[in-house]
């Protein structure tokens, strides 16, 4: 861990100013990821800007939806009565991730900005294009069991580790940011990036920008026709091999609206609107769900040892949609899969 400066602004404007154009400056909120990365020398910030005093810790009503301040903790968000009632998919996804202790500390904004858990990204003894652009990708041809199957490039096969973001993608959240050029909104689908030729860039945040809030639209898929199904190597405190956020609106047995996003499979939460369109108007049957899964995974590409994730994703999509259709969302406390 390197030595760094530390500042603690009290307004957003001061925070944005403190960040300025300094590429070595980092915001810190819960620190659940950044401090790990600093201990591993993956991040070596010259300056830490502690944003925990900014007034961004409220969940507020907004245009029929909710605005979640960037500093709302994962635990507060998951247990908020409005979220549980109106956006249960989001609550479930958060509770599927990390541990109670981490959720108590981690912030909403920080969850969006957490870095990949690729072994090689974390290990400075190995080349990594995300950590050191141009140095090469060690995961390709290496220990690649947990890596991406969709949207990879020959520069990077890392996955985005968040559970919460998978639900936010399915819910069509909007990210509110502020920066030197003022405030702007970023639709969730455009917030995270695929690795392409620049895997060092996880998101489309411009230099100097700060996440202020996440807006949830009015349509939240309350009720029971949703699920967050997370498959992993142990039943808690493990990143997803594959996860599925599914939400449906049904007319009897016919699908009126479908939302579907995957975690653990790509450099960003993976949402395929073509698959959602395919589901629309179809009967809520296993065959329909399989067709959607096939469509999503048509472009999937295995590495040496992660090919199983394609089939696992296919089955997880079908099961997730079955759970959503049946109104039996996956329980996050009893981990038994229905």
């Amino acid at each position: 861990m390197n030595r760094f400066d530390y500042v603690r602004p009290s307004t957003v404007a001061e925070a944005v100013q403190a960040l300025g154009s300094d590429p070595a400056a980092r915001f810190i909120a819960g620190g659940t990821n950044l401090i790990d990365l600093m201990k591993y020398d993956v991040e070596r910030p010259g300056k830490l800007i502690d944003i925990t005093r900014l007034p961004l810790d409220k969940i507020e009503e907004r245009e029929g939806g909710l605005r979640i301040g960037a500093l709302v903790t994962n635990a507060t968000l998951a247990y908020d009565a409005r979220i549980r009632e109106r956006y249960p998919l989001l609550a479930d996804a958060i509770l599927a991730g990390a541990s109670a202790q981490l959720r108590n500390a981690a912030s909403t904004g920080g969850n969006l900005l957490q870095r990949t858990r690729c072994y090689y990204f974390y290990d400075t003894a190995t080349p990594c294009n995300k950590r050191e652009p141009g140095s090469g990708c060690s995961a390709i041809g290496g220990v690649d069991r947990i890596h991406a199957i969709l949207g990879t490039s020959d520069k990077c096969i890392a996955t985005h580790p968040s559970d919460m973001c998978v639900a936010l993608a399915a819910l069509e959240a909007v990210v509110q940011v502020s920066g030197p050029q003022g405030d702007r909104s970023i639709p969730f689908a455009e917030f995270h990036r695929l690795p392409g030729d620049e895997p060092s860039k996880d998101t489309n945040l411009a230099p100097g920008e700060i996440v202020l809030a996440i807006d949830l639209p009015a349509k939240g898929f309350g009720g029971t026709h949703h699920t967050y199904l997370k498959l992993r190597d142990r039943l808690s405190y493990a990143f997803a091999l594959v996860s599925v956020a599914a939400a449906l609106e049904l007319d009897g047995q016919t699908i009126r609206t479908a939302r579907l996003a995957l975690g653990g499979v790509a450099h960003k939460p993976w949402r395929n609107t073509d698959a959602e369109a395919l589901l629309q108007g179809k009967p809520a049957t296993r065959e329909t769900f399989k067709a959607a899964a096939d469509l999503i995974l048509r472009e999937a590409k295995p590495q040496a040892t992660n090919g199983f994730k394609i089939e696992l994703a296919r089955r997880a999509i079908v099961r997730g949609l079955e759970q959503a259709a049946a109104g039996t969302p996956q329980s996050q406390s009893d981990k038994r899969i229905q």
């Binding site: 861990m1 390197n2 030595r3 201990k39 591993y40 020398d41 070596r44 858990r117 072994y119 090689y120 974390y122 290990d123 400075t124 003894a125 190995t126 060690s138 041809g141 290496g142 220990v143 069991r145 947990i146 498959l231 190597d233 142990r234 039943l235 808690s236 405190y237 493990a238 990143f239 091999l241 199983f308 089939e311 696992l312 089955r315 997880a316 099961r319 981990k335 038994r336 899969i337 229905q338």
Partner: protein, 753 residues
């Protein structure tokens, strides 16, 4: 089960009961201090720089940027490190395998990934850690060999055998011919994963330089004597110049048996700088020494149609390092467990460019018993026998590898009581026949076995005039409950209340005792404590008898009991005298004695000693999604006398949980291109968490054993042995799919056969 263990002294009052840990309050309140927590006014902090490559050499090392950081005292590398002994034998610790032990910073040669290449010593930890990140190393890289399967063709019979590790017995009968001729044959290859111990407490050493130039060393070690002798010989010090302490361990599982490089480096720096130094390893550095090396195993079983074994072959190739021939007992268990006329067992090593593997809870048995007990399940299906019946059909009351009877073997009771508790009779043996909702249900079982050992140990006891007793020796309590059972034994032997007894461990100033390992501590230290206390009892009795008007004047030692702080005439408690009165009346400030315990040679001549278990497991499997849940475990244990039902149960629970990890979760993944374990943290190296663990039921069956006066056989290892086989067998029962490669992760459930 209330066998009186010492006829002429105390009664079982605390021994055999469920006494809570005597060290529990200190641990949960933070009063218990660990090796990396001891302070000194002049303490400096060392941080290890680890090699990025697995094999090759250091071409150059640039520490100038690190040295320039304010607060850095010194950067020690192979280029500037002070000399230590040049005799490789001086680095061989008490449990070292044959070979030349690794010496940190000795040369420019790199022999494993994560090898220490520099120690940065600074005034504070943060400065040392920062400066360590500035050390630049230029390596000459050589392609490492870390793929056991690729190296197996080069495997060899280790020329020097490791002390205390029995090589495979000579074959008997003709296993090849008998296998070819057998009516029923099963033959399988079994693999596991490399596993790392990962105790909660990472390795750490604090070396305090005392004013008189001696060293007080706090080291994470399972027995301070090993650290002490290692330091004295490696650094050319007189034994009395070094005192080693380690009162508590945050788990060891075998990783603390041998002195590790952080100790060597802390000592090197302390001696060099003349000031106290602490070196603590990071969690990822816990992957840079000792691990359970997987083995490539083949088991071939031949049997007649009734299931009687006619041929048994078990071959294993296991990894070791380039510089030591680490060995463990992998295949012998198959020969010890079953009666068969034609047996051949082989064990060989393959060189890998990794650190030397080391003992990890039930070393060798976890590996070998997984293979044989899975193969036996395969044979059960091939012969149409119930797995328990098959094992009974091939049951042996004597050890075929030594042709000696077992001192005790209550394995049949384990089968009976375990099966009954589990409900085994309700099992439909047909694979895929049991289901609950979407989930397939599987029931599997296996046998566990571990050698019951005893080591030469001593213990010292002091009874003071206030009626308080202190006992102790050098061994470590690695979390097993040693403090508690020794306190119980001492209290009962002298008939004292538990809170009048203090047990001290982990200090070289105490009576000599070996490292805590091999499940031998209860038998060894327990017997030594009992003997020391019994000697005090005899002394006290003599004094009591000589007191004026002594109520015991005409008694002899065999006729008295020690109870409630008094010496009483057996059957006539009115005739008694308080121990405190004895010491007071005779003007005795204290009574003390040293007890010596050693293996009973007469017993060993006639008998073999093993603990056994029968493990029954239920799994529920969502086959479509590859999800395996281990929902129920019943483990019936035959381990002689149980000293403390609570800590004993905890030992077995811990072993079972670790067994679940071995079966379903744990895997250190090597990138063979660079010879490096890649998932080197607890987020990515998966040990079971609460959500993975459900009902666990532990049964201790009655077993009387005479290998030592206490009748104990040890519990540290037996809990884990066989668990992976039982789970793997349950997975087969649930799915009809025989997975012969641990851990059984979702991808393996999904894979096509």
């Amino acid at each position: 089960m209330t066998v009186q263990f010492s006829p002429a002294a105390g009664r079982d009052r605390f021994v055999g009961s469920a006494v809570s840990r005597v060290d529990g309050p200190a641990k949960v309140t933070g009063l218990a201090k660990y090796a990396g927590e001891f302070a000194a006014p002049d303490l400096a902090y060392g941080v290890v720089v680890s090699s990025a490559i697995a094999k090759g050499s250091i071409r150059s090392i640039d520490a100038s940027a690190a040295e320039a950081v304010s607060g850095v005292i010194k950067v020690i590398t192979h280029e500037n490190r002070p000399a230590t002994s040049d005799n490789p034998e001086d680095y061989q610790d008490a449990v070292a395998p044959p070979g030349a032990p690794f010496q940190a910073l000795a040369t420019d040669r790199i022999v494993f990934s994560g090898q220490p290449v520099a120690l940065v010593v600074a005034e504070d930890f943060e400065t040392a850690r920062y400066a360590a990140s500035l050390v630049r190393v230029d390596y000459g890289v050589v392609a490492p060999r870390t793929d056991l399967a690729a190296q197996a063709p080069e495997s060899y019979d280790p020329p020097m055998k490791r002390s205390g590790i029995k090589p495979p017995p000579e074959p008997w009968g003709d296993a090849e011919t008998a296998f070819d001729a057998a009516e029923i044959r099963v033959n399988g290859q079994y693999r596991m994963a490399d596993e790392h111990h990962n105790p909660m407490e990472p390795h750490a050493s604090t070396v305090v330089v005392e004013k008189d130039g001696t060293y007080t060393v706090y080291d994470k070690i399972q027995g301070v004597s090993n650290t002490h002798d290692y330091i004295a010989s490696a650094f050319g010090l007189k034994p009395e110049q070094v005192r080693v302490l380690n009162p508590y361990l945050g788990g060891g599982f075998g990783s603390g048996l041998r002195p590790q490089y952080q100790l060597f480096l802390a000592m090197l720096a302390a001696k060099d700088l003349g000031r106290s130094v602490r070196v603590t390893l990071t969690r990822d550095q816990m992957w840079s020494f000792t691990y359970r090396s997987e083995a490539l195993q083949t088991v071939s079983l031949g049997a007649d149609r009734s299931g009687k074994l006619t041929a048994l072959r078990h071959d294993a190739v296991q990894g070791t390092s380039s510089y030591e021939d680490y060995q463990e007992v992998v295949v012998n268990w198959s020969g010890v467990l079953y009666d068969c006329d034609n047996v051949k067992l082989t064990y060989s090593l393959a060189k890998l460019d990794t650190p030397t593997p080391g003992d990890m809870r039930a070393p060798g048995a976890v590996t070998g018993v997984y293979a044989i007990e899975t193969a036996m399940d395969e044979l059960a299906y091939a012969t149409g026998q119930d797995p328990i019946q098959l094992r009974l059909k091939n049951y042996t009351e004597s050890d075929p590898t030594e042709e000696k009877p077992f001192g005790s073997k209550a394995l049949k009771e384990c089968f009976r009581e375990g099966a009954e508790r589990f409900g085994w009779s309700r099992r439909n043996p047909q694979p895929r026949s049991m289901r609950e909702g979407r989930e397939l249900v599987g029931w599997g079982m296996a046998t566990g076995i571990w050698e019951s050992m005893m080591m030469q140990s001593s213990a010292h006891a002091v009874l003071t005039a206030d009626g308080r007793l202190e006992v102790g020796n050098q061994t470590g309590d690695i979390g097993t409950g040693t403090y508690t059972i020794l306190t119980q034994i001492a209290a009962d032997t002298l008939g004292l209340p538990l809170d009048h007894v203090t047990t001290k461990l982990g200090d070289t100033q105490l009576a000599k005792a070996p490292v805590a390992g091999g499940s031998w501590t209860a038998a060894s230290s327990g017997t030594a404590v009992m003997k020391a206390c019994r000697s005090i009892a005899e002394q006290a009795f003599k004094l009591a008898r000589g007191m004026d008007n002594s109520p015991l004047a005409n008694a002899d030692f065999e006729r008295v009991v020690f109870s409630n702080g008094r010496i009483e005439l057996a059957g006539d408690p009115a005739k008694s005298v308080a121990l405190t009165d004895v010491l007071k009346a005779t003007g005795t400030a204290k009574l003390e004695a040293t007890g010596e315990a050693a293996p009973d040679k007469d017993f060993a001549k006639e008998y073999e000693a093993y603990t056994h278990s029968a493990i029954f497991v239920e799994v529920k499997i969502d086959e479509e999604l590859g999800q395996v849940r281990c929902t129920r475990v019943v483990s019936a244990i035959a381990a002689g006398k149980i000293l403390n039902l609570k800590t004993a149960r905890s030992q077995i629970l811990g072993g079972i949980v670790m067994g679940v990890g071995s079966a379903l979760h744990e895997e250190s993944m090597l990138d063979h291109r660079i010879g490096r374990f890649m998932n080197h943290n607890l987020g990515e190296y998966h040990v079971p968490v609460n959500a993975d663990i459900h009902d666990i039921d532990v049964i201790f069956v009655d077993e009387e054993d005479k290998a030592n006066p206490l009748g104990v056989k040890g519990l540290g290892e037996i809990g884990i042995v066989g668990v992976a086989a039982a789970i793997s067998n349950a997975v087969f029962h649930a799915t009809g799919k025989r997975i012969r490669h641990l851990p059984i992760t979702p991808d393996k459930i999904l894979a096509d056969d």
